[in-house]
Amino acid sequence: MALLLAGSTALSAQQTGTVTGEIVRQDTGEPMGSVQVSISETGLGSLTSASGRYLIVNVPAGQHTVQAQLVGYQTRTQEVTVTADGTAQVDFAMTQQAIDLEGVVVTGTAGQARRREVGNSIAQIQAADIENEPVETVEEVLQGRTSGVTITANNGMVGAGASIRIRGNNTIAGGATGNTPLIYVDGVRLSKSTPQTDPDQGSIGFSQINANVSVLDEINPQDIDRIEVIRGPAATTLYGTEASSGVIQIFTKTGTPGAATWSLTTTQGLNQLPWTGPNDRSVNPAGMGLHACNLADDPIGSIWFAPDCPSDGDYIRLGHTQDYNLSVRGGMEDIRYRVSGNLANEQGVIAPQGLEKWGIRGNVSFAPSSTLNIDFNSSYGTRDITWLPDGNNSEGFTLNVFRAGGGYVPENRNLLTLEADNLQSIQHLISGINLNWQPMPGLSQRFKAGIDYFQSEYTQEWPFGFYARTLGLRMNNIWQNRTLTFDYGGSWNADVGSRLTSTLSWGGQLFTEEVVQITGVGQDFAGPGKKVLDSGARRNVEESRIRTVEGGGFIQQQVGINDQFFVTAGLRIDGNSRFGEDFGTQAYPKISGSFLVSDYDFWPAWWGSMKLRAAWGQSGRAPGAFDALRTYNSVVGDNGQPGVTPGNVGSPDLGPERSTELEVGFEASMLDDRLSLDVSLWDQTTEDALLSLPPTPSGGFVDEQVVNAGRIDARGAEISSTFSVIRSRDISWSLNGQFSWNQSEAVDLDGLEINFGPWPLFAREGQPVPVYIGDRLQNPNAVGVDPIREEEVIGPSEPTRTFSFGTSLTLYQDLTISTLFEGQGGHKMFAGTLWQSIRRGVWPSCLGVLPQIQSGNTSDLTVQERVVCDPQGIGFHDPIYDADFIRWRTLSLTYRLPQQWLPLGIQSGRVSVGGQNLHLWTDYPGLDPESVEDGGRGPMIGKASYYQIPIPRRFTLSVSMTY
């Protein structure tokens, strides 16, 4: 037997050879990892390592076709002759593909689908798109790079989470996170719930922060392989209830066969706050008191003089940031790994604001058999954030600085507010296992199990002697959120005759989410020093535990004709613990089609590819955990005795709202694949819309009751395009642009009008959701008359237009310059900081005219001039302005270091300098149209600006090495 085996091995060795080579990007010459190289006739293949190398052994001697394939790039093939015991060198230079119809996307089924089969537009961002960009969060990755997605930064503090909207608002349920899309990381669903750090949350909370963290911010962008954005219910049907605001799938990098490849990136940076308030230094010499607080002798600047102004004369600083990333990837054909870690320290623009974070990730894949593949993806991240008290709270730093002595601190000693500690510590684990079993060709089954565990501890401590509460106070909020994902799916592909293909998919998911929140407050300390809750003489506690279960199954059939025309129909049935007990389950159907018209012979050659598509589908959104029940709440009365008060009226028939969407569009490439175009038109109707309405108060139950009562329509369009202007070996220049438009309308609110206070934001029938409504000046240009006000619809608070424009230029494969501009518009914003400053006579732009107003000598002023600067005259609804803006999001310059410069053993290296949020163009007169209160307040679905820190600039220098 041994002899036989030896003989067989020897024979095999004599009859096979090796194929090896390097794969690089054609435009930059950079080696490309994770490219699938295969020899189709043999079933042999390999992935390139990070250095772009691949090796395929035991290739039978003879003539073969070698194929190199990577999503987003044109597939390349070369003929090669392999000789026995020989090594054939086959190199490839890959070109990015304008429209990659053969690329695969995830659609919710067990298998992946080729783009040509899919009836929806699915946006993808590849790792290569961001590898040189100065982005630090997933939201920054998405910003300006996907049409139909609106990212609002919200707050200029480091660590503050942005908000994400896909196709605008289509619900008014769920509070701040109601319109947040579902997010999956390597197939594990993340919870939408985030800990609230808002003073209005809870009945005993005293939190001072109007910024929320994002559950995405423990994900290191350098770990991301690709992101897929699935927009609208027509595309998200199979994701079921909760998916009607879209789905974002994040896939992290995996290992590649070959020797271990290490990558190290170090980044140093600076955060810099732009001039705060009006740019005219003659009226705003102190930058609203942030940039100068020592101008005691300046006739205007003295308004913001603070006796405790720091010795350097201002409150701001250049915030130093440092970020270190190390990863290693490698493996063999059957076992691959990638392990990474990152460590970062970021200072905000006002001390002591900042964060420290670190995280690790390990992705391991192994194939115990030729039909079974197991992936284990796990990440753990932690962040410690020191917040600055901002936003709408009387002990806030920004509020008191901007009010210039008209705030709450004594004698304008604003630093007193910083005696408070506001700390948040976050731990985030995302872990999952994924089994893919292909027991036979054409049949694949998938099982996933995963956990998303998020814990936050937020502590706020006002020390003994604190000006606002002299005996001190400590609050501690522990938030734990555990979401379990169980997902089974199967898919069976079959040829039906010579022209038809069939793909049947089925599956089921179960998600459980448990949110535990415990808040404790201890106040009135016996003396100074660091405290714990029970240091307080008075102590209170609140606890909330909410568990929800969601599950369902789906079946989908796709039929393809000639690989040119595809029709897909599916049905999902969902149950949910949040449905009323009489409601039962909910069914969501879908149907879509795609048509590769360019595959026909009549299609002109210059117009490379053209895919027409249409999709119709439904998805939903569940009510809250207690919404269906009639409940009473525990209260305390009679000095500490237990009592009850009416809570929720309850509704046993309560079910999810159902969003139906029709989407049509096309994807095209032309001019030798230089120009791509992806256009979508969509129309949504949300019926049985969940409305959180007050029951008739005179009935005694006053908590808002969620009911299925409304209808919200939305429609829009999205266009994205890339154009490769120059595509040569020495010069590569490309342009890209995105535009999206959306418009929502509350068609039916059961005759009601809903106010999302405290701002004049409403849901009103016939108007966008939400919309600013208020009494506005009708005679702004009249002179010498009293103001006339009438109620009018001012406009939506959510952008209705987002657009971006970017370009990238690479010279001699070594030097790349890229930049991105992004704009949002069509919306209005309540400029709360401006409003309160005018009421106190300290808004810089009004200082010139204020004496005239105060003297009553206003006969030559227009009504507008007089009212908007008059502390007594400005109305609550006056400071709502157009909030259109264009922001210079990123600029980066990357130089790939020549090999001869690199130390021994270093395979590649590059240096990047970058900037983010470099400039803002806007007519919005408030501080920053993107620095808003959104997400920090539970009831809010709209945006308003109120003492948030403007978005700072960030400058970075990065050095990356691979060896």
Partner: protein
């Protein structure tokens, strides 16, 4: 990828397909997946869980808690709308109140708190009767519940322009007064049987005040005269939890929002003992203020902060029924009847609670007065001032301005520029109007 290896593979594929489908089918049908979605979350109390005798104390404590919340809220809002406090605040709603502008969208909280307190008491009484059976009669809990039901209805009548109950049409406030009298009348026997004379007296006082609202002065005096001047039945507060706190303290002392600047109460220097204050803008007073003043201005940043010391702690109670109010009712009734001597005597009786106050000398006033409130009439001005100071920040002033059609309503100003005709009462809220088909959306 497609199947390429013929019939055997297809047959195996079908077997796997059937197996997978069966798994899902079994889960959905046989394993009772519906049970998977049955989740009981802790923290809330279901309606039926309250139908037990040992929950009755909890029920009545909840009534007390809701009444205290309502009572303080209506007193605070009423103080802004009337001339008790300046709208020297940061928020727009209270600032509007200070101008005498009361919009229906700004009073949802007041209306909801009023009806929650009323409903919790009235529905609680129904539940108590069902659960307690024979023990309902003469039970001290029953008596206390009736007092909260009566007091809630009284405050509705005293502060609102119209009322509505259980989704019904808008009705005159007299309906609320009559309900208050009814609940108090039914509660008094329970209190007497239970030996709770304090509750019986409180309900008697509620009847007196309700009759004032109805204009039944004889009945009002009849109900009031048995109540001692030093009697108080309070809405209770505590520093135990935020919901239990008297919100006046937070507004006046912590946030330093409403000032007494330019109010009639601040005109007395030194302060009248009934309306004590600290002038936080006066350096001498700042030095001795206890607790210390946070700063010299109110939260509007421009108004000197004259800090009311009426409620100097989070646990300071607010009088719901008081003997001093009864004396002032008797004084007004006497004045309306032309009995000046009795009127002044009753006012002096009320002032006797503050020993430092001098007695009103009848010689300083005319022998006769107008039969109804008349601004400028020395005796009516005196009564106006005595009720203002004596019942300061107790949720009574707005009702007085309304029933007297007080001249302050005609554009009276404290600090903010007023609307020409100030609101004299709280309208039915926007939420009620939008959800109650019996009431038009606009007032």
């Amino acid at each position: 990828m497609t199947i390429t290896n013929g019939g055997t593979g297809k047959a195996r594929g079908w077997r796997h397909l059937v197996a997978g489908g069966a798994l899902v089918t079994v889960c959905l049908t046989q394993w009772g997946c519906e049970d998977v979605f049955e989740v009981t979350n802790p923290g809330r109390i279901l309606d039926d869980d309250l139908n037990r005798t040992d929950a009755m104390t909890t029920l009545v404590t909840g009534m007390s808690a809701d009444y205290s919340v309502f009572r303080s809220e209506v007193a605070l809002s009423g103080a802004y709308i009337s001339d008790e406090l300046a709208g020297s605040v940061s928020g727009i709603v209270a600032a509007n109140f200070g101008r005498g502008l009361v919009l229906i969208e700004d009073v949802n909280g007041e209306w909801e708190d009023a009806h929650r307190a009323r409903f919790n008491a009235e529905d609680g009484i129904r539940r108590m009767e069902e659960v307690l059976g024979a023990d309902f009669q003469g039970n001290p809990l029953t008596a206390r519940a009736h007092a909260f039901a009566a007091a809630s209805n009284l405050s509705l009548g005293e502060n609102w322009c119209e009322v509505s109950f259980e989704g019904g049409p808008a009705e005159p406030v007299s309906v609320a007064f009559e309900r208050a009298i009814d609940w108090a009348g039914r509660g008094i026997p329970h209190a007497q049987q239970a030996g709770r004379t304090d509750l019986a007296m409180a309900m008697q006082g509620i009847i007196a005040a309700a009759h004032v609202g109805l204009g039944n002065w004889t009945a009002a005096v009849e109900a009031a005269e048995g109540i001692p001047t030093d009697f108080r039945w309070d809405a209770v507060y505590s520093s135990n939890t935020e919901r239990e706190e008297n919100p006046f303290f937070n507004e006046t002392h912590v946030r330093q929002s409403p000032s007494m600047f330019n109010t009639p109460a601040a005109a007395s220097d030194p302060p009248d003992p009934r309306t004590p204050y600290t002038d936080c803008s006066d350096p001498e007073e700042i030095a001795t203020a206890n607790p210390p003043c946070v700063r010299d201005k109110s939260s509007d940043g421009v108004t000197d902060h004259i800090r009311s010391e009426k409620y100097p702690s989070r646990a300071a109670p607010i009088a719901a029924v008081s003997g001093k109010e009864m004396r002032l009712i008797e004084a007004e009734a006497a004045l309306r009847g032309g009995d000046v001597t009795t009127a002044i005597a009753m006012m002096n009786d009320a002032r006797s609670l503050w020993p430092s106050l001098p007695t009103i000398d009848p010689a300083d006033y005319p022998d006769t007065a107008a039969s109804t409130f008349t601004a400028g009439d020395p005796l009516w001005d005196l009564l106006d001032r005595e009720r203002y100071l004596g019942l300061y920040l107790e949720g009574k002033r707005l009702g007085d301005l309304h029933r007297w059609n007080h001249p302050f309503l005609d554009g009276g100003q404290i600090v903010n520029e007023p609307v020409p005709q100030r609101a004299s009462c709280i309208p039915i809220s926007q939420n009620e109007r939008f959800t109650n088909q019996n009431i038009p959306n606009s007032p």
